[in-house]
């Protein structure tokens, strides 16, 4: 009995360690607010540690798709299956709101374009980082404190500022704090909506470098929406090009950027100064 249990656990671990199993399976996702407004018929699979970039012009449905993927809004049709840490498949849209919320604050993260939407501006940086841990039942102040200091370090913010309010931080620091707040729970999948939008170019570079490092160290799967092709090239393994609510092209990031096939992708790439 015990041996069988042991074997079962071992098998379980092996399945978890197998990178061939996707983390997210998206099938026929559609939500339209009007003709060609929203997104339609999006399907893909995302694997652990994989970074998927969604590019396209404003209004092409990128952000709608991100809201659908993260379960923040419900689609007109389509299915998303997510493989949980317990290694069972969760049908995102049949799950209860409680399950979706729990996912979003434990195994998932969401980095908003505007850090004000993703941070609690009225409480200190340390409390912002600790919130997910407290929600998961951590009731030890010293432990929360240690996690706060550690994550400020990791996102290159002076740990001495742990008790400062986010509003006293620069835009780039706020964005890094938001990333720390999301990553503290050890998520496996992070959604990012234009995380470098609205930042100075010099600050952008620092943030991108940081995100690149974290993505590899933590083996994060990431879905990142961006209209900046340079950001996409630096962070994404593969790209989905969206136009007027539809995915017009998918593929390896450098292949899409260096040898785009669809007329719209070619226009997009050729319109940018050296992506």
């Amino acid at each position: 009995m015990i041996a069988a249990q042991h074997l079962h656990e071992k098998l379980h671990q092996d399945v978890l360690a197998d990178p061939v199993q996707p983390l997210l399976k998206v099938k026929g996702l559609s939500k339209l607010y009007g003709p060609e407004k929203g997104c339609q018929d999006v399907s893909f699979e995302l694997y652990p540690g994989e970074v998927l970039g969604i590019v396209g012009e404003s209004g092409s449905g990128k952000s709608t798709l991100l809201s659908l993927l993260s379960g923040r809004c419900l689609p007109d049709s389509g299915v998303i299956d997510y493989r949980t840490t317990q290694d069972h498949w969760l049908d995102l849209y049949s799950a209860s709101e409680a399950e979706r919320r729990t996912l979003l604050r434990t195994e998932w993260g969401f980095v908003e374009q505007n850090p004000r939407d993703g941070l609690r501006m009225a409480v200190s940086a340390g409390a912002n980082i600790g919130e997910r841990l407290m929600a998961q039942g951590v009731r030890n102040y010293q432990q929360l404190r240690a996690a706060g200091l550690d994550w400020l370090n990791q996102v290159e913010i002076d740990p001495a500022r742990i008790d400062d309010l986010p509003r006293t931080f620069s835009g780039g620091m706020q964005q890094r704090l938001q990333i720390a707040r999301n990553l503290v729970s050890g998520p496996r999948l992070v959604f990012m909506d234009e995380p470098t939008g609205g930042l100075d170019v010099s600050v952008q570079a620092r943030l991108l470098d940081l995100m690149r490092g974290l993505v590899r160290e933590l083996d994060l799967a990431v879905v990142i929406v961006t209209h900046d092709l340079a950001v996409a090239r630096l962070l994404a393994d593969r790209l989905m090009v969206m136009r007027r609510s539809r995915v017009v092209e998918t593929g390896l990031t450098d292949q899409i950027l260096d040898d785009p096939q669809h007329p719209y992708s070619q226009l997009l790439v050729s319109s940018v100064l050296q992506p």
Partner: protein
């Protein structure tokens, strides 16, 4: 030595939708294979599609038809039509690509740029650092530059950082796009040594070398990239 990469009937076209959908046929019906320890040099005029071929082999350009098979971790894998994950995995473990241009990433130090392929394979930092420092020294990059981002380096220095990165780990198949172009003699010599070391270690090398000396130093075979029309005419003459 075994065959490590096998190309059959490979073609590549570019459709320029922005320019009245002009279709350019750059590669047509290419077939060849390369064994471990062998260096195949692409030969042809400028514009014959040599760089395009390397980029197509690397998955950077999308092939129009044909087959590219590589021996990837003991199994043959078809790269034409492969999913991005597989291509990325092949690039991490099997297929290396070195061009003369470094894609500079802001804020990342030269040493880290060089170490990256090893870290991606899961090396520990100390080993990766030791190997990267060795390569940077051999390629005559002054030590004071190692911790700086290569954005401010001279063209030659950037090129050598890129070469160090290219030779950081052992690739079963290496694609070299004019790695020796515009290097001075001593540095060219180092690069040629590195290529020969890779060959001796069993790598199959496919390269473009404009410089005759370099070509003669490493080449085992030439692949004639002269456009098809010319070849057909020559065949008729025979």
């Amino acid at each position: 030595m075994n065959t490590l990469i096998e190309v059959q009937d490979l073609s590549k076209t570019f459709t320029l939708h922005q320019q009245n959908a002009v279709v350019l046929n750059v590669l047509r019906g290419l077939s060849f294979s390369v064994r471990g320890g062998e260096c195949l040099v692409l030969h042809g005029h400028s514009g014959a599609g040599k760089s395009t071929l390397l980029r197509t082999l690397y998955g950077n350009y999308l092939p129009a038809g044909g087959s590219i098979r590589v021996l990837h971790q003991g199994d043959w894998l078809e790269l034409v039509g492969a999913v991005p994950r597989d291509v990325l995995h092949v690039r991490q473990q099997t297929l290396g690509y070195v061009s003369q241009f470094l894609r500079v990433i802001p804020r990342v130090a030269a040493l880290d740029v060089v170490m990256e392929p090893a870290l991606a394979r899961g090396w520990n930092r100390a080993d990766a650092k030791a190997r990267a420092e060795l390569l940077l020294s051999r390629l005559n990059i002054p030590q004071r530059l190692w911790q700086l981002a290569p954005g401010t380096f001279s063209g030659g220095e950037q090129q050598r950082v890129n070469i160090a990165r290219g030779f950081m780990v052992r690739w079963p198949v290496m694609l070299l796009d004019e790695p020796t172009a515009s290097l001075d003699d001593s540095n060219r010599q180092v690069v040629l040594e590195l290529i020969n070391e890779a060959k001796n270690a069993g790598a199959a090398v496919i390269g473009i070398f404009h410089d005759r000396l370099a070509r003669e130093a490493v080449s085992d075979r030439l692949l004639d990239m002269t456009p098809l029309e010319t070849i057909a005419e020559e065949l008729l003459e025979c």
